[in-house]
């Protein structure tokens, strides 16, 4: 595994009107690692991801994937599961998956094949021709996850991937992430689930007040906080904040 940087963020600053969400953020994600992006609600995690993917224009700083700003026409195969979940509700599951597969560069036949294989795996093959809005919330989440991973992306960015999943589906998701890790994919996880972080992540960053509060391997971060558990560290760092449910 070559450990060059696949993501490189330097002196990132993001302002919305008069509010500065990110003050000065710099970190790297190495190719092939699983990286945990942690922070309380409103700390700027999702904003950082959106700026990295070109959805937001950064106020200043460099946010690079494979050495350049991300564009959809670039070479990297990206799988992005946003925090705001949703798909075309009035179309059938298979049509939606095939459409996104084609947008990701797959042929129509390959996209259908990959979609059906995924649906079999998550036990939704009988829902292939069902309209998405006829599925339960959890089932819709699975479809969105399937779209995220259907072309075997080399970079997976998952923003709170287990949000809304029951324990069974959470395990399924963890298994899928591990499979992609094994294939050499880089995984960036935005999460509040410390158990998942412990299980999957190589390195983490804790975001606070628009800056990196801690950054390194899990062992390094734990050492910085007197070898406490990640749950305790999270509570210590963010416990004094009035957590809100606003956009990160």
């Amino acid at each position: 595994m070559t450990m060059t940087n696949i993501i490189s963020i330097k002196n990132f600053r993001m302002q919305f009107g008069k509010a500065t969400v990110i003050k000065d953020l710099s970190f790297d994600v190495k190719r092939g690692e699983t990286f945990g992006f942690l922070g309380s609600n409103g700390s700027g995690k999702t904003t950082t991801i959106r700026a990295l993917l070109g959805i937001y224009q950064p106020t200043s700083g460099d946010l690079l994937i494979d050495g350049k700003p991300y564009t959809v026409s670039g070479d990297i195969k990206l799988g992005y599961l946003p925090e705001e979940r949703g798909l075309y509700k009035k179309e059938s599951v298979l049509d939606i998956m095939t459409y996104f597969g084609q947008l990701k560069g797959m042929s129509r036949a390959d996209a259908r094949k990959a979609s059906l294989a995924y649906l079999r795996r998550v036990k939704l093959e009988d829902k292939a021709t069902t309209r998405l809005d006829k599925l339960s919330g959890g089932q819709q989440q699975k479809i969105q996850l399937g779209i995220t991973i259907m072309d075997d992306p080399e970079l997976l960015i998952l923003d709170e991937p287990t949000k809304g999943f029951d324990p069974v589906n959470r395990k399924l998701l963890m298994d899928i992430i591990e499979e992609h890790q094994a294939k050499g994919a880089t995984v960036v996880m935005v999460t509040h689930q410390m158990e998942e972080v412990e299980r999957l992540c190589d390195r983490i960053i804790l975001l606070k007040d628009g800056k990196a509060h801690a950054y390194g391997t899990i062992a390094e971060v734990k050492k910085k906080f007197g070898n406490k558990s990640l749950d305790d560290i999270f509570l210590k760092v963010y416990g004094d904040e009035n957590a809100t449910e606003e956009e990160d």
Binding site: Y70, V72, Y80, E84, G86, Y88, K90, E91, Q102
Partner: protein, 401 residues
């Protein structure tokens, strides 16, 4: 424009799968067919009315103080004559007869009075039909067919007008270029709302982030616009083809003016100009509707703007007489050159044939440039307003980003 074909196919396919599309597409031709069907069924000649009377065998009494009605015709329809008007009315009231007609002595000063037993909204017309038919046929029988034709205004005329030494029929000349005006009106009227809400779906369904990280916003918008235009043309065909077939097959039965379509003058210059104005205007307004849709969070909010856009597009129709009678007035020039009011004046004036060359040379580039600007703004707004799920973008934000 990678993936443009995929977007167009997806958008068209899912639109064609919707029942609402087909209800809208087929609703208008079905409504037209129903209207023409009613006209066809009620288009009976007066002679036919007399024949129907014989067949229907409804009883009729007549008082003829005008002495114009031919007694032989009354016998033919088995009508009896009485001299007392009130008696005739009473006979209808008490059911002795179905109908009673009173012809006054001076028909120029008094109306024919017709009384009848109610047989329904549509069939009640038979009494008046018979009253007129009896009188008309009676009077016609006293004069020569030629005099009868002149009195009835049936004398045919044949007008030939010239522009220079060439035969020029303004009405026929405007038919083919005028099709672009009708098409533009119908497509915007039918598809305006669909264009307006075409981009709100991504926002409402929260699919926007997945989309923006998979496909260029420009590709998505252009793909949506092309698919909307394709669907609009399909809608146009669904309207025009049955109307044309219906006209060719039934125009005589429907008493529609008879045109020899093959003799319609084909002015390729005006057709070309009409096509260009139509195409650029259609792109401009599609872009404008998509732009508005992109700047608001929901289809419901977008719907509030449709009235304003329709007023902008079709408001100039109120000045239509001016476009024909005073094509050189500054007001007409302004409406013809301001991009958001230009389509109707330009298309109408092109059809009528009073659009000047300099106006064409100026107006089409203005609309085209406006369309490009609006399309770019639509992409920009979609891109930057993408994550505004709960509020609409301000003008400052649209132009200031």
């Amino acid at each position: 424009m990678h993936n443009l074909g995929t977007v167009i196919r997806f958008e068209i396919t899912r639109a064609l799968k919707k029942k609402s599309f087909w209800i809208m597409a087929l609703g208008f031709p079905i409504m037209l067919a129903a209207i023409f069907g009613i006209v066809f069924l009620s288009n009976k000649t007066t002679d036919q009315a007399v024949k129907d009377l014989e067949k229907q065998k409804f009883s009729l009494q007549v008082t003829d103080e005008s002495t114009l009605v031919n007694p032989a015709l009354l016998t033919a329809v088995k009508a009896t004559t009485i001299t007392n008007k009130q008696q005739g009315i009473d006979n209808v009231k008490n059911g002795t007869v179905d109908g009673y007609i009173y012809y006054p002595a001076d028909l120029t000063k008094q109306p024919i009075e017709v009384y009848g037993k109610d047989v329904g909204m549509f069939d009640n017309g038979r009494y008046e039909g018979v009253a007129r038919a009896l009188l008309l046929n009676s009077v016609q029988s006293t004069v020569s067919p030629q005099v009868s034709s002149v009195i009835q205004g049936n004398t045919p005329t044949n007008l030939t007008t010239y522009r220079g030494s060439e035969v020029y029929d303004p009405l026929k000349q405007m038919i083919i270029p005028g099709i672009f005006l009708v098409l533009f009106y119908m497509l915007i009227a039918f598809f305006g709302n669909q264009m307006l809400v075409s981009t709100t779906e991504e926002k409402e369904n929260r699919v926007i982030e997945m989309i923006l990280t998979t496909i260029e916003a420009r590709t998505l918008i252009i793909g949506k616009i092309i698919s909307l235009i394709s669907l609009a043309f399909l809608q146009g065909l669904v309207i025009i083809v049955p109307a044309l077939v219906g006209y060719l097959l039934f125009h005589e039965q429907l008493s529609l003016p008879s045109f020899d379509l093959t003799s319609l003058p084909v002015d390729w210059g005006r057709i070309g100009v009409g096509a260009l104005i139509f195409a650029t205007s259609f792109i401009l307004f599609t872009g404008l509707l998509v732009l508005i849709g992109s700047s608001v969070p929901t289809a419901k909010e977008a719907g509030g703007f449709i009235g304003i856009i329709m007023m902008l597009i079709f408001g100039p129709l109120y000045a239509a007489p001016l476009f024909i009678s005073q094509p050189d007035s500054p007001f007409v020039h302004f409406l013809s050159l301001f991009p958001f009011t230009a389509p109707i004046p330009l298309l109408l004036r092109n059809a009528v044939g009073n659009l000047q060359s300099w106006e064409i040379m100026l107006a089409i580039p203005i609309i085209l440039v406006s369309a490009v600007i609006v399309l770019n703004l639509a992409v920009r707004v979609f891109r930057f307003g993408a994550l505004e799920y709960s509020r609409k973008l301000s003008l400052k934000e649209i132009f200031g980003k």
